[in-house]
Amino acid sequence: MSPRTRKMVFQILRYVVALTALVFFLFPIMWIILTAFKTGDEFLRSPPVWFPRTPTLRSFAHVIETGGLKTLKNSLIISTSATLLSLIVGSLAGYGLARYKVGGDNLPFFILSQRFMPPAAVIFPFLLVFKTLKWVDTYQALIVVYLTFNLPYAVWMMRGFFMEIPIEIEESALVDGCSPFGAFWRVALPLVTPGLVATGVFCFIFSWSEFFFAVTLTRTDAVTLSVQLANFFGKMMVMWGEVGAMSVMAMLPLFLMSFVVQRYLVRGLTMGAVK
């Protein structure tokens, strides 16, 4: 084989691999989206029908009739609040760690280590405390929990972003009589806006997708999307159309967000270890 044909064969093989990977990784997503638009007769047929003959919005309508909008609202309120609080507390701490080296080398790593805390390890005390406070099935319970579980991540990411901006601008602001908080708020924070947005998007994704705390700490009023999805999965029969419709509602916002932070994806997913 001449080098030229070899190169061509190699190139074709690369496309074959890429295509195989695309089919494997996109097929399940495509299947659940198609299921959302099938009629009851279609998603309960054996062998399965791949494409709905007359795509219907009936499943979406039923999801909304059975409280789907309320859970969507709950998820939005809880995730947004937890994200904003994580960003405020997280960027403050990240700044302290980056600029003042508070707690030396050990404090940042202690905070990072909290990122790996298994939810199952703290669930029983949470449950007992929230029962006493009458917080079970409330927004504040999940907001506090998600804030805490997002914080290590937010602090670590923001610390990284602050360390990358030149220190001189803040120093001259301090010389000009700016308070330390002013240097943070008016000088440093505007410079890390893209990092702040990326960190916020990741915090939102974590809170939005979380299931363990949501299923243990909510009952009816504060139910989030992930828990409502599990509710459609009845004991007697599975409402696949509704599961599909709700899945679409849960997936789309995150897909859009992931495009917004495309540039920071690797950094965001590896906590800055890979840039």
Binding site: V17, F25, P47, F124, V175, A230, Q262, L269
Partner: protein, 308 residues
């Protein structure tokens, strides 16, 4: 502001020492809210949980007697718990290894320029963004004996209808869980390795070409050593997260058939929610926590080495 910028170089030394000094209280004010929340919401409950694990805390019991290590001793005699450790270990070891291999292979294949690369990469990443609960239910539908397309496709290949109940038998249920985990997280490995590979210095590889190195030699003596820190970080992040494996079990198999696919997190959930044995569950959660701390200590050492 502009003046300040010009001033900066002359006063940089002394001022930076004074203004960014670590001895003053102000710096701690930045970190205080974060530390208070972490202490209050994770450290305190962890200690409380430790106390709980030494008692027989059950909803039906009027008092909660102290039983020392009783729960822990019972745990390791509990075949359901030891089995859940095994299942968790399988997910962590097999799942993460396959993700590593597939992700690395894909990244190697797609690292060079090709038409439509940006779109291909963006599309391959979608599974990472899907809510795990959605992933679990989607795959439950895919594996379904009657309504699932997997059996249908196998049926086309073998030329007769195929109705295997994948999730009803322990070995294939574990297999289904692994496929699901690998489906969701291989793209993470792929993305991380892709960005790592694209930062490698091409001159090194050109030099190796001149020295007549084969493709395999370049891979073994250049790519692998250069990528080592990234490989380790990716594997440890995935490994630690896989240790908490819960959502997929809840949605895909519900721990079944029987209790054969329960992970540690799922078993802890069951002890609390099905049997209301909080003391026992707390002991189990401490075993999970200790396993995590051991792996984490190792991770932090590596993080220090690679991030500085």
């Amino acid at each position: 502001m502009e003046d300040g910028l010009e001033l900066a170089p002359t006063v940089e030394g002394p001022y930076s020492k004074i203004k960014f000094s670590r001895k003053r209280l102000t710096p701690w004010l930045f970190v205080a809210p974060c530390l208070i929340i972490i202490l209050l919401v994770t450290i305190f409950p962890t200690i409380y949980s430790l106390g709980l694990s030494f008692t027989r805390w059950e909803i039906a019991l009027p008092d909660k007697p102290f039983i020392g290590l009783g729960n822990y001793i019972q745990l390791f005699q509990d075949s359901r718990f030891t089995h859940s450790i095994l299942v968790t270990a399988i997910v962590v070891v097999v799942g993460v290894s396959v993700e590593l291999a597939l992700g690395f292979g894909l990244a190697q294949t797609l690292v060079a320029e090709m038409r439509g690369k940006r779109i291909i990469v963006a599309a391959l990443l979608l599974p990472v963004m899907v809510m795990p609960v959605v992933v679990g239910y989607t795959w439950r539908l895919l594996w379904d004996a009657q309504y699932g397309p997997i059996n249908q496709i196998i049926g086309w290949i073998i030329g007769r209808p195929f109705h295997y109940t994948w999730l009803a038998k322990p070995p294939t249920a574990i297999f289904a869980i692994l496929v699901t985990e690998i489906w969701q997280w291989t793209p993470f490995m792929f993305l991380v390795f892709l960005s790592g590979l694209s930062t490698l210095d091409p001159e090194l590889f050109e030099a190796a070409d001149i020295d007549g190195a084969s493709g395999w030699e370049k891979f073994y003596h250049l790519t692998i050593p250069l990528m080592r820190p990234i490989l380790i970080v990716a594997v440890l992040i995935r490994g630690l997260d896989a240790l908490k494996f819960f959502d997929i079990i809840f949605t895909l198999t519900g721990g079944g058939p029987g209790n054969s696919t329960e992970t540690i997190s799922f078993y802890i959930y069951q002890t609390g929610y099905q049997f209301f044995r909080l003391g026992y569950g707390a002991a189990a959660s401490f075993v999970l926590l200790i396993a995590l701390v051991i792996i984490l200590t190792y991770l932090l050492k590596l993080f220090r080495a690679t991030s500085e």
